[in-house]
Symmetry: C2
Subunit: 366 residues, 2 copies
Amino acid sequence: MTTSESSRFAVIMAGGQGTRFWPESTPARPKQLLDLLGVRKSLLRISYERALGLVPPENVIIVTGRSIGEQVREDLTEIPERNILVEPVGRNTSPCVGWAALHVRAADPNGVMAVLPADHFIRDEEAFCNVMRVAMDRAGSANTIVTIGVKPSRPETGYGYIEGGESVDGDVLMARRFVEKPDRLTAEHYLRDGNFFWNAGIFNFTAERILTDIGRFLPDLARGLERIEEGVRGGDPAAEARIVEQVYGEIEGISIDYGVMERKEKGGIEVIPGEFGWSDLGSWGAIYEHLPCDVEGNVVRGGAIPVLEDVKGCLLSTSKPGKVIALCGVEDLVVIDTEDAVLVVPRIRDQEVRKLQKLAKKRKGD
Amino acid sequence: MTTSESSRFAVIMAGGQGTRFWPESTPARPKQLLDLLGVRKSLLRISYERALGLVPPENVIIVTGRSIGEQVREDLTEIPERNILVEPVGRNTSPCVGWAALHVRAADPNGVMAVLPADHFIRDEEAFCNVMRVAMDRAGSANTIVTIGVKPSRPETGYGYIEGGESVDGDVLMARRFVEKPDRLTAEHYLRDGNFFWNAGIFNFTAERILTDIGRFLPDLARGLERIEEGVRGGDPAAEARIVEQVYGEIEGISIDYGVMERKEKGGIEVIPGEFGWSDLGSWGAIYEHLPCDVEGNVVRGGAIPVLEDVKGCLLSTSKPGKVIALCGVEDLVVIDTEDAVLVVPRIRDQEVRKLQKLAKKRKGD
């Protein structure tokens, strides 16, 4: 059964902090608002435009945080203001998904929603949309939670995995379990096994389905959502915002993965394998991999003027177009310049940027 | 014989470009105007204050270039304007020394002048002044050119050397020859030999002596200086400047080392060995050596906030106090941030900064 076009919704979660892209990403300008791919579009805008391949424009909902609400509106001026849900504080993904589900259900009681991260990379958008249409149809017709599992191309230890089970309908597999980031040996086993997929953080379900599940597994949140629903039904955004502020002040933060996915009974979650050149763009090293390089493997972004002597495999970036970045005799380094900081780190140690960001924050506070 | 206080002059040559301290040094703000040692004084000011230990304030003459003349005046407001000689174009050191000698001779026909670089480091100023007094006295009484030879403490390949010969008067040795920067093996031989000294670029002579020598070895320059001398005698700085502009437009640039020193007859040049903690501060690596470091050997300047994780032996610098420089997993790097450029280079390759500066200039020009 095919879900009708108007019953399809895309919910883009745009609340992340992106500390791993420090110093370019900051709380005031997190990863999803940056043009990390050098295409003069933020990752959020790329995600929005991609979603238009799945749902009508009026059915795209963005959930974001108060500190960047204004910037999101400026980035996506064509979206009706009521489709941008601004959380007063971050409470992880469960409240975010729940609130968005209320809006979907209010617009269409049979609405199917795709929950999409705002800051990932997808090379093959057509393949992505094809998989997503199957997933949304399945979520609507089977009343299940349908995730997307990316076929692994390497024994990646930086991603979570979903183990697929028997087929329940064509390409749709039962999801046996979610597993956290594995060690190298386990990741190699997963790759050989063929039934393990990267968890891309993409979920599809009807609004009714996820609200029912939240009611079962997260009763405190469900009570809060009931109060918010009164605001949604009332149709006064200001009144709704006041209720949201109250509710968010009382509820706990919990991820939808931990709060709902891991507690669902066997068979309630399905996975559709897909291959569309996906990356979570989780670190400067991932950005390096996705940008064009010169013959020496050096990548330049941000309008930096590279001055290189005996340099290989480096990523150079500045927030000031026309600023020179001059390197000599170094390899595989990430060099990021912004107004407030310079970062120099080997690409292979890019995961330590979060630690440096915290240290810097502490130092600046001293 | 002791030269009287009032007959002693110090000529500070402050015309250098300092491309090896790029990107912090620029043509508009060369090395001698920078506070490279982090003492809130330019190297020029340090040199000026040091000269006051040798000569009366009114006998300090600064020779500099037009592009930085105004900044030199602002840096040294206590110097009478007539004591700052501003060259319209750089013509190496011979015209610079000759012009200054005209001023010294006009002030005192028996004047002895010490020619001093504006941008070197001297740790022990008392020891320096003691050696210099001996040198100036000798230059006045023997009518010779008296250089200072720094006793080498390591087989340095970055400096020129002076070979000392037999003693002609106590500590004063005949200078056998000047030698260019040696290779490692030769430098080790020089160190063991004990008769080779670092050429610190410091010369002492009477104005009459050097003008006579210029007359012998550089007749074109000598003719130009005769014309300039009319301006000097006329007492009108504007008229003098006009003549200087004409003359500098016609003469060739030639160093005093090559133009005079290497052509003098045996016995005409002497050397006095000295030990006063001298360095030419020729590169970022030299600056690193002269600044205090933390337990991991990291040096921070310019008010940078260091954020370091597994980092050893690095020099961090910014032109924007309070800017974070965050490094992780690197060793012995120089990281310099300015408004216009970021430089990252291994300390051991700091001599290549000149090359990078040239490349950057070319790139920016494109």
